[in-house]
């Protein structure tokens, strides 16, 4: 099993290894920022061209967040949107079939475990932060004992299980799709990759984006909406 992660170069003096996955995530960022800049450069009352795409993305995520989190969901739209856009580009980059040509730089960057883990940790930190902001630090600690006192250890455990399941699900799906696609491309590089790519790279990739964002907003909703 080859995940295709290589160190492309090392930062001088500090001896920091830069992997192809990290470079791909920078490319992803650059693409997203370029798109956002172009789409919002000259906004018109009647949207045309790229402005439409920006409005669709923002409105979809806003509606999504408000549906799940409720009225407080507006605050979390930028984070959810950032994660969604980042994952959407990252996960589907495998569809470009350029892994082998570019030393694995252009490929799904979420196949390296570090990036899903980082995203999951940020999500759980945001969730805890949202809970503390909503109930205050004392209220938040009290809420850990809320339904029954006995549940306290499980609640603490949840803060580890949630990011673990989030990151492992994402990582496993994308790495699995990547490895399968590499195998298919290696053994039968005609016709089949096109169809397999539709499922593994596009469908699975976008499904994982949806699942990740949905679970993130569900966790936030759990913290924010508990007020009786």
């Amino acid at each position: 099993m080859e995940d295709g992660i290589e160190v492309i170069c090392t930062l001088p003096y500090l001896n920091i290894p830069i992997t192809n996955v990290l470079i791909m995530s920078w490319i992803t960022m650059a693409v997203i920022i370029l798109w956002a800049w172009l789409a919002t450069r000259k906004m018109k009352l009647v949207p045309t061209g790229l402005q439409n795409t920006a409005e669709i993305v923002v409105e979809t995520i806003t509606n999504f967040a408000e549906d799940i989190i409720g009225h407080a969901g507006k605050k979390f739209v930028p984070y959810l949107g950032t994660v969604a856009l980042f994952l959407a580009i990252s996960n589907t980059a495998g569809a470009l079939f350029m892994s082998t040509l570019t030393k694995g730089i252009v490929g799904p960057s979420t196949r390296g475990i570090a990036i899903p883990v980082a995203l999951a940790i940020m999500t759980i930190l945001l969730t805890i932060g949202a809970g503390i902001q909503k109930k205050g630090i004392v209220g938040f600690i009290k809420s850990l004992f809320k339904p029954v006192f006995v549940l306290f250890p499980f609640k603490i455990l949840e803060f580890f299980i949630k990011p673990l399941s989030l990151s492992m699900r994402l990582f496993g799906n994308i790495l699995g799709a990547y490895v399968l696609m590499e195998m298919i491309l290696h053994n039968l590089p005609i016709i089949l990759p096109s169809f397999a790519c539709l499922y593994f790279d596009l469908f699975d990739g976008l499904l994982q984006v949806f699942v990740f964002v949905l679970l993130t907003s569900l966790y936030i909703a759990e913290e924010v909406e508990e007020e009786e």
Binding site: T40, V58, V77, T82, A118
Partner: protein, 165 residues
């Protein structure tokens, strides 16, 4: 994929990446687009409100004009009716006056006629008296006293009835 230096470096860089991306997208994408869309919604709402207001105003004006029109029509009808009534009255009056005048004229004419008739009768009487006298004189040839005869004849004529009409 052991947890080596690469893992930690990528992890930390991803934290930084996502935070940077978050800040940039919030500034560049989410805030302006949300604001833009809210502005547009507001503008559309305002335009709709304005249209509604204008429509309401037009309806109000129309009602007002309708009422005015109705009032004017009523007034016109009233005026026409008044004039008709007045004209009728004047016509009646004119007819009545004309009748009266006509009657007056007729009466006057009758009176004048009467007076003339009377005069005529008296003249005729006189004429007749002299005529009869002459004739009698010729017939009797001074057999009779002129003076007494004249008296006699006058009496006769006065007593004889001359039809008035």
């Amino acid at each position: 994929m052991e947890f080596n230096q690469e893992f930690w470096v990528t992890l930390v860089f991803t934290f930084i990446n996502i935070i940077v991306l978050y800040i940039i997208l919030k500034k560049l994408l989410f805030k302006p687009v949300t604001k833009h869309m809210e502005n547009r919604s507001k503008k559309i709402q305002e335009a709709l409100d304005l249209a509604e207001e204008a429509k309401r105003k037009v309806d109000e004006m129309k009602e007002e004009y309708d009422a005015k029109l109705r009032l004017a029509k009523e007034e016109g009808d009233q005026i026409i009716a008044d004039y008709k009534k007045r004209a009728d009255k004047e016509y009646e009056e004119a007819v009545v006056t004309a009748k009266k005048e006509a009657e007056l004229i007729i009466q006057k004419a009758k009176q004048e006629l009467d007076v003339e008739k009377e005069q005529l009768i008296s003249e005729v009487k006189k004429e007749m008296a002299s005529l009869v006298l002459n004739a009698s004189q010729k017939i009797l040839k001074e057999n009779l006293d002129t003076e007494t005869n004249r008296k006699l004849i006058s009496e006769f004529i006065n007593n004889s009835k001359v039809s008035e009409k």
